[in-house]
Point group: D2
Chain length 166, copies 4
């Protein structure tokens, strides 16, 4: 069952710890039935896609250039040819954004998420006013659950209650 | 099994015949295991998504504005907020493009497909040099099959041999 | 005095005749005080920018990739890094679009112009319903003049009466 | 004489002090012959455009939606219809970026500037590693001058030595 679209952002290169966190996060999101959206490339993105793949989920990658850039765990490649402008699409398509450690690209995506009123969870990433902090992937997914319940309580209907509007 | 990404373009409003053609095309593509990519809105797009849904497939919609624009058969909404610039993404992400009747938006997408070297099948749409004509959805899907076999013959490997490069 | 933004589209390579037409058109537009907007690259674009330069005007180039792509007559380079999606910006920013001979990229821009309700003049380019034909640059500029007068008659005010809305 | 393209970013609403700073900065940039690039809307953007106008310069506005969004001091409106994705163009087209106080949109632009290796000067805005701080518009323009001289010393030639590459 397809559920939410959860965007995971983070560095194109990741430490073993961050990679493991991303992979576990991807796995958990897949097990919850969420679609994983990311930039579709290496590092945090690849690890999260790998986790989603292992969890039996669907990983969508919004690529900056050509399809060849996709990591091997992306199920559906959206090829923009728009460089960094694709970051806007990654964030705008999300019900919620979870940020792992990264550099300036990640920071720009987190700021965009707040600008666009997407719920933002920082999992060891930049500390921004408006972002919620999670210590580990389990806590991040719990935070999503709580948003979800708040949505249910608010009486949203249909197969895709929108976290953002609750 | 996910196979190719096939983009269907056409008018935001469609005649009963064009709607029925689009729906049947969506159904056939889904039965072949292809992912249906479209602009995610009404008319030809909605009919094709409906067909894909009925065929048990996956319909991805690349939306010009907000998520609310998606027709009710879109499984995965990619929200660009980029207006007509999203047409470039629809075409660029495709292994092949199938065009149904439409106006200037459709014509611009067909021209883009040729500009970007995507195989283009015209199913009752504009007649452009470089596009292949198909009389009905079955013939369109047969044309895709032939491209596919040409790819196989060319020795492409992996789960996603790329029609475009064969 | 800056006047209208007139977009010139056409092939990235041009015949001596088309180049000469583009150059003369750029010159005429500059002499009328219009800003020349184009894709900023070679062929028709470069010839038009050259003409604008020789006419003492301002040439703005909306580039698909990096600044290095600009021809040497572009005064102001807007660097999008968005590939073909920059075509949407070229058309959307225009008060009117004049098309010279070109291939599929040009056709997609002409179709976009009609889709976006921009006045479109075909100067030896594709013949589309809704486009006005001009035989030479002088006639194209006369057509702009007439649109302009129609605007004035409609009582539009300010330094930038918008051709599109008259 | 057109010189560099300097992008000014900052909040769509500004305090009287920030507005006055932006206006003075726009004026100084215009007096130095630079082209002022901005998002073309209100607040810091409008104040900077106003200053450029008063200084006899050229203000280019890269608009997120339609032309009507431009403030009244924009000389050349580039209409993208791409929402926040236009921020990428603003930064990518710049020889250097100067940031004034702003919220998340401004932060995302500053992060993008660093990501894209554009020289970034913070004039009372977010404090990011890699940004240079300036206390007032005069100091910001002096920092640009120094980059310029470094370029000259590096032997760059032509009318548009590119700050970024020195």
């Amino acid at each position: 069952m397809l559920n939410y679209i959860i965007t995971v952002v983070g560095g194109g290169v990741c430490s073993p710890e961050a990679c493991e966190t991303a992979r576990r996060l991807g796995w958990l999101l897949a097990r919850q039935g969420h679609i994983l959206l990311s930039g579709g490339r290496g590092g945090v993105m690849e690890a999260a896609c790998r986790g989603a793949h292992e969890g039996g989920g669907v990983a969508v990658g919004i690529l900056p250039g050509e399809r060849e850039q996709a990591n091997s765990f992306v199920d559906i490649s959206i090829v923009t040819g728009m460089g960094q402008a694709r970051n806007v699409i990654i964030v705008k398509s999300a019900d919620a954004v979870i940020a792992l450690p990264g550099e300036m690209g990640t920071l720009s995506e987190m700021a965009l998420a707040l600008k666009m009123n997407r719920p933002l969870i920082s999992l060891g990433s930049w500390d921004l006013p408006g972002a919620q902090a999670a210590k580990n992937p389990e806590e991040a997914v719990e935070l999503l659950e709580k948003m979800n319940q708040k949505c249910d309580a608010a009486g949203e209907e249909g197969p895709l209650p929108d976290i953002r509007r609750c």
